[in-house]
Symmetry: C2
């Protein structure tokens, strides 16, 4: 069978399965999730064997150490997958919830019911644990899934898929509710993102290259996450201790995450008080500083920032620093050079805080808190399929609710339109 | 200037204006809307003159009577536009509303703030009153708009645009908050739907051909409305009087609307009681009936339905009729052949009603009410930019809220991530 026909078949089966999963009750979905956890636990040696194959191939194909590390299914990774399944089972079921039920003058009663999106296509790289993570969130939110992992993880993903199927079977749910693409042919991705008749939304999880390609070629909506160029703005009326703590935490807590600060903005009237000390602390932490002219005068340890620095997501111990004349300039800088991900102000001034919250056009806006909090778990979503940098449908951390939609429910008593 | 450069300039200006409109307070936006209404009232003769030009060109170009009628800006049409502006001014402002503000164990407080989408591109045909309708909804929801009307209405649209600009000016809002494309070059549409850097979402309003072309070629999200193949299912336990009233109203109240019923499904055990009488009443109303074999045995006035009939949006006094064995078959038929728009069950049975609401995958699902209620005004949205048949972002009637998004707001006291 050629790839096109194969993907069509997968799509058709996913569409059929999605109807069953959409109406599956909470108990059934949880039963499947917990049975998946048991199957993973019982299949540790099979998983290790499959993963070994991928690792050997990866080494032979010259994957670097970081990629091999992400590919490895260590016992601890499997523990985390099992724990994750139990956590998703424990989350409240979003499906079927009815809100805002109100009477209208015509006598009809109208509200909204939360419903699944249908079929979700997930495209991801290396890490085989994403297979379980994505499948569990989609299942709990009543969706069918087609998962397309990286070719380097094909054996591991198939072994994980086997455990997922055991879980679905134990709950009497259709095995096609979660399908893992079995071919490594790259044409499968091209087909998956261009069959709106079978797939309702695509969630790409991986590097920027993958996400840009998917967004460009997709014929279905994409919940995408591009850059995280996050800012902290230290206002003239900032509490100095809070400001230093937040600025350090936002940069140095972890370097490779999308909610890490990449540019620090400092009000000119507080720069003298705070910038030299902060610069010393960054340097002590091993952070390279790239500053504007004014910053460099105060802290000569900085090298000169170029205009590209303002829009760069370093994902590394590098920070750009700019002294600004006030809130106006800070907001303008953030809206122009940022990526609309997460931005914070440090201030004790009520009116400035209020303006920052309103006028900064980012998926998360914060007052006196570290940008590192922008995360589904920290926000209380219970889980996270990704962080959306889009405005349409889902913005910011996407949990179960982001994988659902709402339909209108109308209850009448024989009403007709006059 | 070529079209590409012209549209780029429009886009850039819209993006800039969107930042100002996003933070404009409610009073300012309402002032602009009411000033637009005044400008329209004061420009009746200029509007009539511009419209006369379009009508003459239209006649010369052989537009049919229906198109000329939609193109005409009669005094009553202008009254409706003025009334519409006042109504939108009176609607509550969705922007800035904060919901679900809760504390997390880390001490941060998190909620969601409703924000504009940014820049909305509207593509529409003939009716110049859409210019005002769309502009007012976008402005009230804090968005900038680029409007691209049909070339046949170019003079009327420009005259309306002039009134809109007067309104914006009176309120001190940027004139580029609402821009009406001044070229009739079709390449302008192609450009408008492929500049994600300037346009956040496209709303096409017009025939199916337009919407399909836009969805296929767009590089930005599209809030689209395709078919309305709506159903009424009369269950075995339906109240006969309610059933007949709803079935007649859903078909005959208006033929050309998307929420009009196109297929009637009847449970086999009630068909004998109800179908002959209903058929007589449809025929008396001038409706052509196309039935399945079983229906035709009971009401020989019907002609035979083909399989295409089940998925056809007639938008005309034509109805397809099918006798089904029960709820299961009805739901399957609706989910397979329908367009996921609006579907109703008539029944007195609690459990069947509940199953229908849950399992029918449509933007509006109803019990004992006419499908004709699926409408932004009837639902209490106050206004409607269209009805979405998508699941992503907005589903069903789209009012002001559908033109907005939500961002996360985090309030802290110096919290950092542990």
């Amino acid at each position: 069978m050629n790839v096109e026909a194969y993907m069509n078949k997968l799509g058709q089966k996913a569409r059929e399965a999605s109807r069953v999963v959409a109406r599956a009750d909470t108990g059934l979905k949880n039963k499947a999730l917990l049975a998946m956890a048991e199957a993973l636990d019982a299949s540790r040696s099979a998983l290790a064997k499959a993963n070994e194959k991928d690792l050997e191939n990866g080494k032979a194909n010259g994957l670097d150490a970081a990629m091999l590390d992400r590919l490895a299914l260590k016992p601890a990774t499997i523990d985390t997958m099992i724990e994750g399944l139990k956590q998703v089972a424990a989350l409240p079921d979003p499906i079927g919830g009815i809100t805002d039920m109100n009477y209208r003058p015509s006598g009809i009663q109208i509200g909204k019911m939360r419903v699944p999106l249908g079929v979700i296509g997930i495209i991801y790289e290396s890490r085989p644990n994403v297979t379980v993570e994505a499948a569990s969130l989609c299942l709990k939110s009543g969706n069918a899934t087609i998962l397309r992992g990286g070719s380097e993880a094909i054996h591991s993903n198939q072994a994980v898929a086997d455990c997922i199927r055991q879980g679905l079977e134990a709950a009497g749910l259709p095995l096609e509710a979660v399908q893992v693409v079995e071919t490594t042919d790259r044409a499968a991705v091209g087909k998956l993102i261009t069959m709106p008749e079978y797939v309702d939304v695509i969630v790409p999880r991986g590097g920027k290259g993958l996400i840009e390609r998917v967004s460009k070629e997709a014929r279905v909506p994409v919940i995408k996450h591009l850059d995280g160029v996050c800012h902290v703005y230290i206002d003239a009326q900032a509490d100095v201790v809070k400001a230093e703590n937040i600025a350090l935490n936002a940069k140095t807590h972890r370097y490779g995450t999308c909610n890490t600060m990449e540019t620090l903005l400092v009000h000119e009237s507080i720069a003298e008080t705070i910038l030299r000390d902060l610069a010393d602390r960054y340097v002590a932490a091993g952070v390279e500083l790239r500053g504007c002219d004014k910053s460099r005068k105060l802290a000569p340890v900085m090298i000169a920032a170029s205009v590209d620095d303002w829009s760069t997501e370093y994902l590394a111990p590098v920070l750009s620093v700019k002294v600004v004349s006030g809130l106006e300039e800070a907001i303008e800088h953030i809206n122009q050079y940022g990526s609309h991900h997460t931005d914070a102000i440090v201030t004790e001034n009520y009116s400035l805080a209020r303006r920052f919250l309103r006028e900064v056009d980012s998926s998360s806006v914060m007052v006196n808190a570290s940008t590192r909090f922008a995360d589904g778990f920290e926000y209380g979503l219970g889980a996270e399929i990704g962080i959306s940098t889009d405005k349409i449908h889902a913005r910011g951390p996407v949990g179960l609710e982001g994988l659902t939609s709402q339909k209108y429910v109308v209850l009448g008593d024989g009403q007709i339109r006059k």
